[in-house]
Symmetry: D2
Subunit: 271 residues, 4 copies
Amino acid sequence: MKPEVELADVQNSVDERGIELDRVGVTDLFYPLTIREKAGGTQVATCRLNIFVGLHAAQRGAHLSHLVEALDNYRSRVFSMDSLVHLLRDVRARQDEHGLAFETAELQIRFMYFLPKLAPASGLSGLVGYDCGFDVALNRPGHKSVIVNVPIAAVCPCSLEISDVGAHNQRGVVTIQVWQMLDDTQFIWFEDLIEVAEGAASGDVHSLLRRADEKVVTEKMFREPRFVEDVVRGVVSGLRSRLKGVRYRVESKHFESIHPHNSYAQTQGEC
Amino acid sequence: MKPEVELADVQNSVDERGIELDRVGVTDLFYPLTIREKAGGTQVATCRLNIFVGLHAAQRGAHLSHLVEALDNYRSRVFSMDSLVHLLRDVRARQDEHGLAFETAELQIRFMYFLPKLAPASGLSGLVGYDCGFDVALNRPGHKSVIVNVPIAAVCPCSLEISDVGAHNQRGVVTIQVWQMLDDTQFIWFEDLIEVAEGAASGDVHSLLRRADEKVVTEKMFREPRFVEDVVRGVVSGLRSRLKGVRYRVESKHFESIHPHNSYAQTQGEC
Amino acid sequence: MKPEVELADVQNSVDERGIELDRVGVTDLFYPLTIREKAGGTQVATCRLNIFVGLHAAQRGAHLSHLVEALDNYRSRVFSMDSLVHLLRDVRARQDEHGLAFETAELQIRFMYFLPKLAPASGLSGLVGYDCGFDVALNRPGHKSVIVNVPIAAVCPCSLEISDVGAHNQRGVVTIQVWQMLDDTQFIWFEDLIEVAEGAASGDVHSLLRRADEKVVTEKMFREPRFVEDVVRGVVSGLRSRLKGVRYRVESKHFESIHPHNSYAQTQGEC
Amino acid sequence: MKPEVELADVQNSVDERGIELDRVGVTDLFYPLTIREKAGGTQVATCRLNIFVGLHAAQRGAHLSHLVEALDNYRSRVFSMDSLVHLLRDVRARQDEHGLAFETAELQIRFMYFLPKLAPASGLSGLVGYDCGFDVALNRPGHKSVIVNVPIAAVCPCSLEISDVGAHNQRGVVTIQVWQMLDDTQFIWFEDLIEVAEGAASGDVHSLLRRADEKVVTEKMFREPRFVEDVVRGVVSGLRSRLKGVRYRVESKHFESIHPHNSYAQTQGEC
């Protein structure tokens, strides 16, 4: 078998069209990673990853195997945002090492993150899974960000007001993404963002509820009816009271029980 | 360019392992087809199709291009179940014509089918899309079947009974599949199955509702609370009162507003 | 039944948190619309739509039924980009009519668009479905944009160069989005963007190929090996030679036959 | 708050329509479970679960919270097929305990399972994720089954034979499900089924390949061209040489690089 060194390095040839590429890399790579919990423990998550580098105009192709190799080297670490920033610096260094002048490296990770939740009357505990993630970009100025997708319950205030009985309600999903500067040392936990989202809804969801719990949960929902617009504004208020110097994007999508489509609201800003 | 006849026909070689294949074909083929409506009109649907033939043990491969060619020949027809049976006979004949003894041909079609719906108070009209389809199998004994997926609203009877105010409710999807013998001349319309599904739920969904409509819809839902089990049994009762000599499979899945998971019920039988 | 006018208009109440919302509306609404073809005909498409308005800080909620009603009014029109801009002006006018000062309206439409394609040797014709769409935003400065997702084939140049025989190849999807100013009268057809994408790949895909066609298609692919980076740069070159005064975003994702993950490249710019 | 015992048990009321339900339960419940590996270790998997019980004709509803509670009790166990059978017996016992005569309990679990794979020339190691699962049904006669979805590479034998250069190839997914009687003590590992699937394809997929590896992998693929039919028959042969007294279902779906649709083959049998 020919040694690697004698095989043509086609990626390393020159492209003359003068077109820089913002992102070159791999998507939908699944890898198990260990994530740090606010409560002090860790959990092993099945992660779906996208890893990219920028490609300057003269270079034909990136060496994608080095992206995966960098990730594999971090497999046994416990991850939090800072380890991701380190991993990404490593990704960029490996491309530079091959004589390439990459200016950007970027990482997007998504996984199901589990938290125990107590039923309000029975006190029974069950896990709820939240679709969470991190996005990190090393460029100028660069950013690191935390993402949560939080299932919630929402009772329609209009339906409640105008109907002689009841009101339509539905499951929704609140999405919060919060961006920090790379050198911001403020630590933002999934747990805190999830709390903000659940606090802004008519109610939160539970995997395990007895009848006595269901009564409490239902009555609470009807005391706190929320439009999709109310939920988003409530999340923004919650973020403003807890965080400083971050950019946020908040959206909520409700799977309306009386419509075949969803209702939706979204906003972004800084606090 | 070499004529087709001189190119090796690799599919037509012999496989000696003695393994018959139940289904060989193409999946996730998108094609626009024209579907006949109960109201007398037609609609052009974006269809996703799977087309299969059976492959006897000695034949290495099927000629998949003939499956697509058969379909393309039917492109300008108006479709109902019987045209699909004809198309499928054509699919099988084309394989036999190539000296292959196929015993089975099978077709699965799915598409969004639209029906106008009037809002109950304002009388405003909006379309609701239903994910519908047909499955046909030519073998022994063979069958033809109609499938509807119907979004519905369901109010939880337990939550309604035990709570001082309100009740959790949610969107659900009822799936009905009804199989007939190939020579059964009874015509089963999507419209009729959709009516059965909507009649068994707490309420149906609308794309367009004013406040006066929303009041009517909400109050109706709360007068007719339904567990997922109730919905499935109601559909079965509805089918039994309308159809004779068919097999059915009924399921309902509800996106519970107070849980991160769905509730589900399913049954099958004959009527 | 109470007339609409006597029912409380809860959406129309005041929110005092001072939070403007960028987008409020409906998502995943399915509707059939008729789309204009470059060849002069039309096709009925099953569309998935998101329709949004901006919501100023003092207004509690938008009147979402008016978004759907505006769409329903346009149901029988033949659509091209300009009809969408008109529809969207109508959406905004309906919110203003209710005393609301909306500054933004936005529309996202996606649908499968079909084009006939001839097999290169046999001349047989089959349809290929392309996932296409339009995004329009009325705000400052506003934009209208055309989107195509084009399945393509790509042979790996590195694998071809270093292997004694063959080369891995795979299906990929090229995505092109091209934004214009609202008053730009240049008409951009799906057909033209699809041609650019297919021209930049190793080969295009066909729904119907005989063996003689398969030979032509395979040999053509191997004469034009392309990395994911090459495909994106080729598309950018193609756009630059055809369009003026537009912004573009181009990406390609290849479902690598030798990896469980995909390779990816993306860039954006103006021409 | 009223004690549970005083709240109406609406599920426990009588339904008089005489309709038995095959499956009632929860779907799309996410829970982390620890899975036993063939190599002796364990891995924590993010599982998506469906849990069902049968419902006799006279009972209005099942007590779904008990399904989730049973699962939560098993959270810290190391799972293999036998623990699932135990869990399911527990699920059924909890329903009986509430005075209900359930005859069936059923469990479907899916998760990403990771295995290390060595690159053939460089010896570098990377993980490949396989979408795996278990189905267990306690009824008459009952069964337990193992499922793997294995990404593979396939070179088209026809394209290879008729083309002067190259051949189209693509990623595919082989699905194997193997059913055993509940008291069959033969242990079937994911690892063994994955090996059978990869052995029947033109090649297996790797997350990490250097150029020297890519050369080996490409040349191996072209020495072993396989139609989708060949892959399925190869898997069946592989299963027959390894297992006794089981039922199997094998399918393969290939994302053809020259078509917008997939090719597909499927069969079932016993060995």
